[in-house]
Amino acid sequence: MKTKTPIVDPRIRRLDIDQSLSFDHLNVMEEWGTFEVFHQKKRGEQHVHAGVVHAPDPEMALVFAKEQYGRRLKCANIWVVKSSDIYSLGYENEDMFETTPEKMYREAGGYKIRDKINQYKKEQKLQQAVV
């Protein structure tokens, strides 16, 4: 059987967990940092933020994330990202989004097309019944 080469995102580093010894050494009493965990249900789908784990390095973060966030739902893949590598807009800028909910024309649901679709379906059905 020929195995399909998986399509891999070239931006993501895949940790070769078994081989690598390149973890950072912690000092005594130093606290572990946190990693954000992203969970992918199926190949090709988006990775969705699932939560946070404490871990000393990315490999351990993956080891923990697997049981923390991959133990119940179906899971194809997990990402971890150091929390401190995440950039965010502050809540003081929340006003930038204030008028967004009004902009219904940016949503598919904002167009009054549902009635037209239903009308079309009805006509199709009628036609089929006649045939």
């Binding site: 967990i17 078994d18 010894l21 973890f23 050494h25 912690l26 005594v28 572990w32 784990v53 404490h54 871990a55 000393p56 490999e59 351990m60 080891v63 923990f64 697997k66 049981e67 923390q68 133990r71």
Partner: protein, 250 residues
């Protein structure tokens, strides 16, 4: 066929007892994330034992899994001494997990091509689970081996203590020849060889040394029904709820 039955029974008893032992850490693990991971793996082990007892029931007409788990005397158990020992401190539980799970993973790997189809099917099914268990164990060993002077010393001492028990895992049964000639399982000797190779490789990565153990120091007897003093209280505790009201539906 009796050979396959003996093999499955000792595997099931190992899984049940280490699963129960490791679950004793639930709620007490060193950190939340590790607590959850270790508890999950303990559940997996108990799950493996259920699958194995079910094969025994279906293929060899043994009593149902609950009866096998909660209603046998210590003498009827075929687990090795390594899994019976109390959880100790976390270093011991981790080292035991490392030594046991490597053997378990290789055993199932070898069984995935067994002529005894129900066992081969189960072996293929749990492959991914065991891959994670071994990854978890290796990750900890590597870090603790390279960690501080204290972590290194504790893990090495624990290894020295645990190794004579771990080698008891490979105590041979009377049916080794039958297992091998019938292509059910390549035998404990072969398993131990592969296991030693992998353990040595991992320990080297972790900057730890493989303790040399004299043959007469290996703790055997478990496979013949002779156990440590720790098994009896464990079985009592495990069956406590079951025996409160037998046959009750949950």
């Amino acid at each position: 066929m009796n050979a396959a039955k003996e093999l499955i029974l000792k595997m099931a008893d190992d899984e049940l007892v280490i699963g129960h032992r490791n679950s004793e850490w639930t709620g007490l693990g060193p950190i939340l994330e590790e607590d959850i991971a270790f508890s999950s793996m303990a559940q997996d082990k108990v799950g493996h034992s259920l699958a194995l007892y079910t094969i025994l029931q279906q293929q060899f007409k043994t009593p149902e899994p609950d009866q096998m788990a909660f209603h046998r005397s210590e003498k009827e158990f075929r687990c090795c001494h390594l899994v019976e020992l109390p959880i100790g401190e976390y270093d011991f539980s981790l080292v035991r997990h490392f030594l046991f799970d490597h053997a378990e993973a290789i055993r199932y790997e070898l069984l995935s091509t067994s002529s005894f189809e129900p066992l081969a099917r189960l072996a293929r099914k749990v492959k991914g689970e065991l891959k994670y268990h071994v990854l978890h164990a290796n990750s900890w060993m590597t870090r603790l081996g390279h960690g501080t002077e204290e972590s290194h010393a504790r893990i090495q001492l624990t290894l020295n203590f645990a190794m004579p028990y771990a080698l008891g895992l490979f105590e041979e049964s009377n049916e080794e020849v039958e297992l091998i000639t019938e292509n059910i399982f390549p035998g404990e000797k072969q398993l131990r060889e592969y296991w030693e190779e992998r353990i040595r490789e991992q320990l080297e990565k972790a900057n730890l040394s493989f303790p040399e153990v004299k043959n007469e120091a290996i703790h055997i007897g478990g496979r013949k029904g002779y156990h440590t003093e720790h098994l009896h209280p464990l079985l009592e505790e495990m069956a406590q709820v079951f025996k409160l009201e037998e046959g009750v539906e949950w």
